[in-house]
Symmetry: C2
DNA sequence: AGAAATTATATGACTTGTCACGTAAAATCA
DNA sequence: TGATTTTACGTGACAAGTCATATAATTTCT
């Protein structure tokens, strides 16, 4: 009744089944799927990249800020922004001005075109979050986020933590 | 009592606080942290990359297989493996042989050196999973994975799903 | 004030991951 | 059997991210 090649596919299936419960293995595909879904939503409302969308959103919500602040909010390396922003300026979405009171900093600000791009994208991206909210209740989201918090805390522990002799004498 | 600059930092903090509950925003940093932690663990036991480690592990657990099967297990694009494997062969970790019965396929197999590299890395990576298990009970892992399953199912829905007029007449 | 340390940004090199497209081998179907 | 479709793999081009290092401006310390 079962396929004759079962002996060949079995170890593969077994492997997949076991990895299903491995959080570390699950993360990359889930993250990637999220990135792709986000990109598809963005494709429907202009041609913003993920980084661009996040940046427009942050600037819209929190007002003009420095590159570092953007990086802090997005929890990404500042170099990611440092590379993305000149392109966004070229596209007319933002302005970048050296801070007069602190010459190291660059203050990034939405332009009218940037605001327009935000306005075009925002409802579509809001729809995405609304769609998620149809699948997860607010309570479930909180629980899920709680797991993410705890996982992240674990992931950011210094690695040595896990290699010290942990015998409590 | 509060800092005088609160008016400046407030919108930033507010933004961070609000994004904290946004699953889509939380995923990239969590994924990235996991990748970095994995890389640090791997740095302690040889110099395998993430992809290399995953591949050695899969081959060790499920035996020789094709590039496609590796990609399926890892839920990644075949091109990722297609690029990584020649390097691994060059390092002597695997052999790649054209399948005699199906000339399209390449069968990847662990070499003794590959097995040795696996044996070196495996205990360290097992320790990582053990450390996670100290922080999450088996039950919690199941619940967490359940959320990931549901999220992934949502993320892989065709995008149009979310744009059809969903008024049930 | 001057030296030393810190901070903000830029940039090169790299990993993980995608998609699109080309080619060869295999499977299907007429 | 021969034409068409499918499948496996390779490869170029790209996005998102990192780290390390350099430079300039600011802050801190003596």
């Amino acid at each position: 009744m079962t396929e004759p090649q079962e002996s060949t596919t079995d170890p593969i299936r077994g492997r997949i089944a076991r990895e299903h419960l491995n959080i570390f293995s699950r993360l990359p595909p889930v993250y990637t799927a999220s990135r792709q879904q986000g990109a598809k939503f963005l494709a429907r409302c202009g041609n913003l990249s993920t980084v661009e969308w996040r940046t427009l959103w942050d600037l819209h919500e929190a007002g003009p800020m420095t590159i570092r602040q953007l990086a802090v909010i997005q929890r990404a390396d500042h170099s990611l922004l440092s590379r993305a922003l000149p392109d966004m300026r070229r596209k007319g979405l933002v302005t970048m001005a050296r801070d007069r009171s602190d010459g190291r900093q660059t203050i990034v600000k939405l332009t009218p075109a940037g605001r327009a791009a935000y306005d075009r994208a925002a409802p579509v991206m809001a729809r995405r979050r609304a769609a998620l909210a149809e699948v997860f209740s607010a309570e479930e989201i909180r629980a899920f986020v709680g797991y993410l918090d705890r996982l992240e805390a674990f992931l950011r522990l210094p690695v040595e933590t896990h290699f010290e002799t942990e015998e409590t004498p």
